[in-house]
């Protein structure tokens, strides 16, 4: 794997909340990398540290030790202002809920990213419209979030996360509030755009049905990297971690040597 193809990388990341007797290790020495054009699922049961890991990948949370790189840049070495600027230019976000600005239409929500990065010109506005149309929202561009279904809102959020051509697209449980059919549609769309546009996509999910659209699955358990597998592997381990002790060899070769280091 060429270095330049790595979009984001976690290196021996540990996150400890609290201090003294109240210390909780939310993430314990986790390492992995995600390449451009790769869509990865971050899975694990509640409390396994998925969202904490995502927050550190986004530069919203500082690791207690280790580092997170986006396009070889360590956001923690940046000041707060530069980090926010880096986030709006190089990271796309989709959240579980409250994804959109309630008083902006679908198109205005997407265009907001262009305004925040001083790219709000005619050509980019057209690109925002095209992106929404590609996501099947050509008739809903001027609708306010409250006039959109949950699935439509998530698709608008996906469009917003991609409009600035980010290096990494992060999604936190994007299907949590959707019915199964819409959930599959949203993940499929996200996977398609990540692959087509060559972004690195990382999706936190607890719904193992959604991992079919991903290239790799990073399994966290109690803050540790339990295993990295592909959707073609036997996923029984994800549903019942105690039954599996070994990391899938395929995943190791795909995920890089850090994984072996992390779990050895």
């Amino acid at each position: 794997m060429a270095l330049s193809s790595v979009a984001t990388e976690a290196r021996s990341v540990t996150k400890i909340y609290g201090s003294g007797a109240n210390q909780v290790k939310a993430i314990d020495d986790v390492s992995f990398s995600v390449r451009r054009g790769e869509f990865v699922a971050l899975v694990g049961p509640s409390g396994s540290g998925k969202t904490t890991m995502l927050a550190m990948l986004a530069g919203l949370l500082e690791p207690s030790s280790g580092s997170v790189l986006i396009e070889d840049e360590d956001m923690l070495k940046m000041g707060e202002g530069r980090r926010a600027a880096f986030r709006r230019r190089r990271i796309g976000f989709t959240f579980q809920a409250n994804n959109l600005v309630s008083y902006l239409t679908a198109l205005e929500n997407v265009e907001l990213m262009l305004r925040l990065t001083d790219q709000h010109d005619q050509a980019n506005r057209q690109r925002a419209q095209n992106l929404l149309a590609m996501l099947g929202l050509e008739d809903r561009m001027h609708a306010l979030p409250r006039e959109l279904s949950g699935g439509q809102q998530q698709r608008v959020a996906i469009a917003r996360s991609l409009i600035n051509n980010p290096a990494v697209v992060l999604a936190d449980e994007p299907t949590a509030s959707l019915d199964t059919e819409r959930a599959f549609q949203v993940v499929e769309t996200m996977a398609h755009l990540v692959h087509e546009q060559g972004r690195a996509g990382i999706m936190v999910t607890h719904d193992l049905r959604m991992v079919d659209y991903t290239d790799r699955i990073i399994h966290l358990l109690d803050g540790r990297l339990e295993r990295i597998v592909t959707p073609d592997d036997d996923l029984t381990c994800l549903a019942d971690p105690a039954a599996c002790q070994l990391i899938t060899e395929d995943a190791l070769s795909s995920g890089g040597s850090e994984v072996a280091e992390a779990v050895s």
Partner: protein, 386 residues
Amino acid sequence: MSTAFYLALKETWRNKSRFLLFSLVIALITLLILFIAALGEGLGAGNREYLENLNAELVVYQDTAQLSIASSRIGCQTRDALRAVNGVEDVGAVGFSSVSIPEADAGEDLDISLIGVEPGKPGEPPAVAGQGLERRSANEALIDRMVAEVSGLQVGDRFNIRSPQGGEEEFYLLKVVGVTESQMYGIRPSVFVPIVKWDEVRPQAAPSGGAEDPACNVAAIKLRNPAEIDVMRQRLAAQVRNIEAVDRQTAYENTPGYSAQQQTLNTQNGFALLIGLLVIGGFFQIQTLQKVPQIGMLKAIGTPNTIIALSSLIQIVVINVIGIFIGGLVTYGLSLVFPPGIPLVFESSAILRALGSILVIGPLGGLVSIRLSLRVEPLIALGLGG
């Protein structure tokens, strides 16, 4: 900056019913504050107009009166002594009392300040219609424009005043020779009569018939050089016994109840502003609390704090300005329909001060909500922190 404007105006426009409703609340606060300001100005003017507009630089009291006009007596000899002081241009005797004009105000008695002055001397206000007073003892009167408006009296008309003399009420017939303006005293419109006539008709324990050179309450001193007020005050005090000379402002600030009244109105004004501050602060605080998840999301996607803070500030200012505009318009409309007897004066500097203070309390009240929005953690968008 433009994105902050964009977010602020979009949110305001897309939630216009809610924000208009709040603008109306600000309009009501504006109305209240403007009316308190107008009342303060009106009552203040009603107390001080005559002394403020006096055609003299100094007002001389009896030294033991402690600047109380009602307690002060300045006799003829004292006035002569004042006239003799170098630098004094002229001296006028001024006497104050309260009487009424029967059935002058839509069938009701009109209470007036009856002010005795020496014709042609300091203390007599200029006539804007008709002419000034001519003779020291004539039954002539110079009436304030407000008396003319309320009673319908015109130059040449005759009218009675009612004045208690001993245990009896006496009526005295006066002729309007002129109309003056802006001469309220004691929150009553004024009627000026020659000092000898005043001494005859003023309320007293027993009818006096009027002295040829009566004692008055104060003397109005016109100086040769109006810039020498302080020097002349000292010179008068040094050369004339038993007097205290003050400038016009000190004189009206010491009229009965003036300072207490202004302090009361200032306190009311302060409380109205405080209530406005709390109401505006509370509204935007609730508004921000409702938006915490959205603010967290905006920060998570990289929106700078400056845009979030500026957007809140712009929104507060816009809603405040709309509220002030509506409140100002309503106040103006109401001011047009108020009858002249009500002491409301919409004086531009007082109104601008009031409007300025409301403009300031908006952002000030909103500071707490802006601080709150700045403290929202972007992690909240991921369900962490907060």
